[in-house]
Amino acid sequence: MNDPVDVLIIGAGASGAAVAWSLAETKMHILCLEQGGWMNPAQYPSTGRDWEARFWGDYSPSPNIRGRREDYPINDDNSPIKVVNFNAVGGSTIFYTAHFPRLHPSDFRVKSLDGVADDWPVDYDTLAPFFAENDRMMGVSGLAGDPAVPPRDPPMPPLPMGRSGAIFAKAMNRLGWHWWPSDTTVATVDYEGRAKCINLGHCTPACAQGAKASTDITYWPVAQRAGVELKTHCRVHEITTNGDGMAAGVVYYDADGKEQFQAAHVVVLACNGIGTPRLLLNSTSGKFPNGLANSSGLVGRNLMFHPYAQVYGYVADETDSNRAPPTCLWSKEFYETDRSRGFVRGYSFQFGRGVGPIMEAVTSEQKGLLPWGAAHHAVFRRLNGHRLTLSAICEDLPEAHNRVTLDPVLKDCHGIPAPKIDYTIGENTARMMAHGIARAKDVLAACEATDICVNSPILYGGWHLLGTARMGTDPESSVVNEWGRSHDVKNLFIVDGSLFVTSGGVNPTSTIQALALYVADQMKQRLANLFD
């Protein structure tokens, strides 16, 4: 029998780590259960000669391909975008590009400004101090002064522009379009015990140098030193409730596969936009027959991905290929609404440096650019090290039919029902993607690139898992209130990307973590009457 804890956090990824660190100062007994384990950087792909090949194996971004015991299967057959994630201490911050923009102020007022979707119950100014705090904790590199975003002050200088960035920069200047060095969580100088980036390049599937921030090396060491307990290889099956309709604790499988019960006074869900609705829907009871915290019927609905429209081509000059962190610049030229474009809302461009030789060979062969036979070598030498890529990260509006449910057949290795995804790309987003592809081709033309290829959407591009337990003031149209507490279960909180009311058009990790810190701050301010 486990002793009850004050706060039980489920999930040790981007948001779970942030909320654990923030709550640690309360000196409450805080326990986090994580289905994955601690990663060993000495075994990350960039340490071996098979560094590229592992992308199609044990370091695939898809849990269905990767198939580690720590992963759970996801039925995403009925979606043009497949879910990608990582399950470990650090969660998907282990396996991400470290691109770290914030949502814009307008992203929180979508209904008021553009007449679509809904406004958030919080705004940019409310989150601003938590963005800054998170930038310091994660360690953000970037350059102040970007006219496309509100003022911010990254604690480290930006990543090098490099050859690829310089080609893009000159092209964007010829077009008169906005560009700026990206905010990233890659340390460009030694920072808080992290060694600076040495341009391993292959750092999306984990950084062996430790320069890229993942919460196993940022928040967690500090949180553990402050007394937070973290148990790994513990997969939660369901959240149980008591006779008062409050969360009583969780049933989980421990590292030995034994079923355990952990009682808790407060339960915090930090399992991402797929794992959180999955767990809520698996937590049924007589009082909550449709899943926990689901009186609105919105648990699992309004799934948003950010469809990526990726375009690439080849230039005569040498590019950075795989020899640096994959992203270098962003553009917000088409971010804010301009109805003359034929859609509302907008997208960011994310500029990539290039790819390694094996990725180049495999993908250009699949596109039909790289021939079989005697001509192979000459063509490959023209392509390899000459690719430039940019992607439009398109805002996905919430649509109730895009949802996470429980698969009636598929189960994980513990027998827990797996999530099923039903998702289609909305009309507004489709028009936005077409615009993004056309403008990306303009950029590549300005770079004098040839052999233009398009991936739209990126098939394995479901990195951003948002909206499936949205926040709001109305219990009939939201799952949690304006500070992350379930409308239905007063001691149940959600802090991950499920909270998002709309998606914005940027990578969401910065905003996810700022929201988690905000929810934790609200909890701390209300400790005396948290359940009122």
Binding site: P147, A148, Q366, A378, R381
Partner: protein
């Protein structure tokens, strides 16, 4: 087949033959073909989770060829190889990827591309910082973001 060998001898021979067709040796670039014994050994040793799909692709290849691929005359071999590529699908994609990923990590091939045969870590790479004065016209723009 033996438990430690993912392919039959006939499949191994067909794998070498199709690999050698996809990427033949080149005197011009001073590189081996993908049927080189060391590269073939790498493929067999690291086939791992790709083995079922690669076997499936090799079964398709065997049906298309009707005989060991290496025994066919060059014109027939080319026709069969191109027919296999046209079949496409996950199995052929896996076979092709296995060939490419083992070929483009061979030391001789990597050096021929002007690259160092080593993992990225711990040496890393050096990148030019770039000319940040390119940002001057962007800095001069008024705010683009909407106040809300």
């Amino acid at each position: 087949m033996p438990a430690d060998n993912p392919l039959t001898p006939a499949q191994e021979a067909d794998l070498a033959a199709i690999a050698g067709f996809i990427i033949p040796a080149s005197d011009e670039f001073d590189v081996p073909g993908a049927d080189d014994p060391a590269i073939q050994a790498d493929m067999l040793a690291t086939l791992g989770r790709d083995a079922p799909l690669v076997r499936e692709a090799l079964d398709v290849l065997a049906r298309l060829a009707g005989a060991p691929l290496g025994d066919l005359d060059p014109a027939r071999r080319e026709a069969v190889a191109l027919a296999l590529r046209a079949v496409g699908g996950p199995a052929v994609a896996a076979l092709t990827r296995v060939v490419l990923q083992c070929y483009y990590r061979d030391d001789r091939v990597v050096r021929s591309l002007g690259l160092e045969p080593r993992p990225p870590y711990p040496q890393g790479h050096v990148l030019p910082d770039g000319d940040w004065s390119l940002l001057d016209p962007v800095r001069a723009r008024p705010p683009l973001w909407r106040r809300a």
